[in-house]
């Protein structure tokens, strides 16, 4: 696939070692456009928008921001904790701004499913509908996500 210089730059920034240790694509050999399209189709099937998912993730992260020393129960069924480490990360899409290194871990106590996301994940979903490639350390499967956070 012929890429524009910007697309080439974005793909390069998603590689391991540029912004994060393992990059954003994992073992996924698809182009990031294809990853986005496939994940968008999942959201369409559920009738949920990327903004709604990002808002929900942000709600959990913000709710646990000051609970820095352990998990808290939210809405009776979510056990959530957010850990903040030193530094900030830029967006691989060259979107302006920096995103704090936060890792939020949520366990849905009804289903037993545990999900993990970063501050950058929230931005990538909201602004770019990008859930990362399969096998990526912080890949969020939209199907699993939608079933467990709403």
């Amino acid at each position: 696939m012929k890429q524009t210089p910007l697309e080439e730059k974005i793909a390069a920034r998603m590689q391991p070692g540029v912004i994060t240790l393992s990059g954003f694509l994992g073992l996924d050999e698809r182009h990031y456009h294809e990853i986005i399209e496939a994940d968008e189709s999942v959201m369409v099937a559920y009738g949920v928008s990327a903004e709604e998912i990002a808002d929900r993730l942000e709600y959990f992260t913000t709710s646990t921001y000051e609970s820095f020393q352990g998990p808290v129960i939210i809405d009776d069924i979510y056990e959530v904790e957010t850990e903040i480490t030193r530094g900030k990360l830029p967006c691989p899409f060259s979107h302006p701004g920096l995103y704090r290194k936060t890792i939020t871990t949520l366990t849905n106590l009804n289903t037993g499913v545990t999900l993990r996301w970063t501050g950058l994940n929230i931005h990538l979903i909201r602004a770019h509908h990008f859930f990362e490639g399969k096998g990526s350390v912080f890949r969020l499967d939209p199907d699993l996500l939608i079933k467990n956070i709403f």
Partner: protein, 367 residues
């Protein structure tokens, strides 16, 4: 007809290539900016070859602004005031500058190109910043995910810093990582040990630099450090002091207390260290030992998850409820905090509520 189309496409491609070559040639040989004068603080003028970024231009003169992203315009650490020259503010800079900073002509040095004479203002302390070649002398496990690394300075052989300041550590390419990365870490050794720098580094999931330190760095290896940076240091007063830290935030507090041990102090000091469990505690003997060194010092670990049988379960949960226990005169108290932004914000709120003036709350936030 087909031949005509192919020939037209060929001609267009040839013209495009020709124009591109002219541009490359012009950029390389004609687009020189000659000598430019960089005026620093109206005190020092340096003549440089134009065309490079202000950050690199200053680096070449051994004037080091902070930069955590290696000049990629993403960290916003290399801010400085450009009083004259420097061209218009770029879209890459705007997201990292507040409206006030933009109004005050603050720029990102990595994005400003030196194309003509330029006048800048930088803090005087930056002239003390040096790039050091060091050798790793020791690597010690402090917990399951925190290591202390001692770097013996080689060139220059000594560093002049204030307890609480930080250095930037430059990684080398490793594994799949093809480029160097720069990250900031507080110095945990005392300023009096001026031939070494000790850093306390916690392994961050997916962290390029911390993974290098934890899994690849070897004793004897040469490593570049730049510093010292930062304005988190002890104020020379007689006020009571409350230290609050969590995780690797212990590093600058260790440096401060070891420095105070050398110079001596009678100030009332309390140190709250927030950790999740006992296995997250480290250097406990050292800090408890300070209770016998200083006339009025208390080290208080506060664990969020406490086993009833644990040694340090006297106080558990959050740090905030325990602060009032040690406050003697809030107006005459200084707080020094280092850790996660959530913890700092919660403690700052509590200190304010208890009457500690905001301008006496100093912090080094991870965020």
């Amino acid at each position: 007809m087909l031949l005509q189309i192919i020939s037209d496409i060929g001609a267009s491609a040839a013209i495009s290539i020709f124009l591109a070559l002219i541009l490359v040639f012009a950029q390389k040989y004609l687009n020189t900016y000659g000598d430019c004068v960089v005026d620093i603080n109206n005190k020092k003028q340096i003549t440089v070859k134009g065309g490079n970024s202000l950050l690199n231009t200053l680096n070449d003169q051994q004037i080091y602004l902070a930069s955590a992203c290696g000049g990629r315009g993403s960290c916003g650490a290399c801010k400085c005031k450009v009083a004259e020259g420097g061209g218009p503010l770029l879209p890459t800079e705007k997201p990292l500058l507040s409206p006030k900073e933009q109004q005050d002509n603050i720029r990102l040095a990595c994005q400003v190109k030196v194309k003509s004479d330029i006048k800048i203002h930088i803090p005087e302390s930056i002239f003390n910043i040096r790039k050091f070649v060091s050798v790793v002398e020791s690597i010690t496990d402090l917990t399951y995910d925190i290591k202390a690394v001692v770097f013996r300075l080689k060139e220059p052989a000594k560093i002049d810093f204030k307890a609480g300041q930080y250095v930037q550590l430059e990684t080398k390419p490793y594994g799949k990582i093809k480029q160097t990365t720069v990250r900031a870490y507080s110095i945990s050794s005392k300023p009096e040990d001026d031939t070494l720098v000790e850093l306390i580094i916690r392994l961050v999931p997916e962290g390029i630099c911390t993974t290098w330190v934890h899994n690849f760095l070897q004793v004897g290896e040469e490593v570049n450090l730049t510093g010292p940076f930062g304005d988190f240091y002890i104020r020379d007063t007689q006020a009571d002091m409350i230290f609050i830290a969590g995780g690797s935030g212990k590093a600058p507090i260790k440096s401060m207390l070891q420095h105070l041990q050398v110079v001596g102090t009678n100030r009332k000091m309390t140190y709250f260290f927030g950790a999740r469990t006992e296995k997250d505690l480290y250097l406990t003997e050292l800090f408890k030992g300070f209770e016998h060194v200083f006339p009025d010092f208390q080290y208080i670990p506060v664990l969020s998850k406490c086993d009833d049988a644990g040694l340090y379960c006297a106080r558990s949960g959050y740090i905030m409820p325990y602060i009032k226990e040690v406050l003697r005169d809030p107006q005459n108290t200084e707080a020094y905090m280092c850790g996660s932004p959530g913890m700092l914000e919660a403690c700052r709120k509590e200190l304010r509520n208890l009457g500690v003036p905001d301008n006496k709350i100093y912090f080094d936030s991870f965020g």
